[in-house]
């Protein structure tokens, strides 16, 4: 990477932090004074188990019924739309980005939660520093190789626990769980994290994705039991 590009990315990280930090802190999963749920507080101050959820040890496979087989050498991620530097990343470039390890919970809208999943991947915010979202960009539509789409606000997606992961539970992410790369959104219901992610489209207004067009929530806040629109 050239010195100029590296300097641009470092400056973009700082600008994005300034632009989104307060917005992320104001989201329901970090600011609700009386959140619903039960159990001890999690690391962002919410009850560990959101309302209407039960605790699962297994990790079932849920998808649209199509499992696209995308080999890492064929995988590409396009980031475009409302941004200054649209880009396409291949596997090698993606793996050369700063990698993050995190342990977070997974809340499925179909009422089960899985606690303490170790993940490894690249922060969504790191990808945004590469492309510099326009000042008017507010949301992203995430597209997947199986045709799935889902929308997420940038105030949510810029949180440090939102990752595009290639490892889960210490192993490469299996195809059935969205490998080689899926997104995770630990502070939202898990459908907001696209499996087999192929494109992040930055948008200046919100738009419904696959499940959202079918009546599921545009915002998907687990501690508000926010499942349906």
């Amino acid at each position: 990477m050239s010195d100029d590009k590296e300097a641009r990315i470092v400056a973009a990280r700082l600008r994005l932090k300034e632009r989104f930090e307060a917005k992320s802190l104001a989201t329901p999963s970090q600011s609700d004074p009386r959140p619903k749920g039960s159990g001890p507080q999690n690391r962002h101050g919410m009850p560990q188990l959101p309302p209407g959820q039960v605790i699962a040890k297994g990790w079932p496979v849920l998808d649209l019924g199509r499992k696209p087989i995308v080999r890492p050498e064929d995988w590409k991620l396009t980031i475009d739309g409302a941004c200054l530097h649209p880009t396409e990343l291949d596997w090698e470039t993606f793996m050369s980005l700063p990698q993050s390890d995190d342990v977070s919970d997974f809340h499925c809208v179909t009422t089960w939660s899985k606690f303490d999943v170790p993940w490894r991947g690249v922060r969504f915010s790191e990808l945004m520093a590469l492309v510099s979202p326009d000042d008017g960009a507010t949301h992203a539509m995430c597209h997947a190789y199986d045709g799935y789409t889902t929308n997420v606000s940038l105030a949510e997606a810029m949180k440090p626990d939102v990752l595009l992961v290639h490892h889960a539970l210490g192993e490469p992410l299996p195809i059935e769980h969205g490998g080689p790369i899926r997104m995770i959104t630990p502070q939202l219901y898990a459908w907001k994290g696209a499996k087999w992610i192929s494109r992040i489209e930055l948008m200046t207004e919100d738009r419904a994705g696959f499940w959202e067009e079918r009546g599921y929530s545009m915002t998907a806040h687990p501690w508000r039991d926010d499942r349906y629109s």
Binding site: L49, V54, I55, A56, K57, V61, L62, T110, T111, R214
Partner: protein
Amino acid sequence: MTSHAAAEILSIAPTAEGRVHARLRLVCGCVFEGAIASDRVLDVHDAHGGATRIAAGKYRCPLDHPVGHRATADGTP
């Protein structure tokens, strides 16, 4: 067709490898019946340790109830 989460497992029986035949009461009150992947059937517990079994995932509603439609108190659609 709309899809809903399952509220209750009415019955499950093994079929071919990796599948079970399931009758599920959906959150809208309708009954879904069909083969599902066996790993969708999960043993789970609530925050107080109470154990139960659920069918993870969304299932097609035979009456096409809109998403968010809830069954009545007695469980009927």
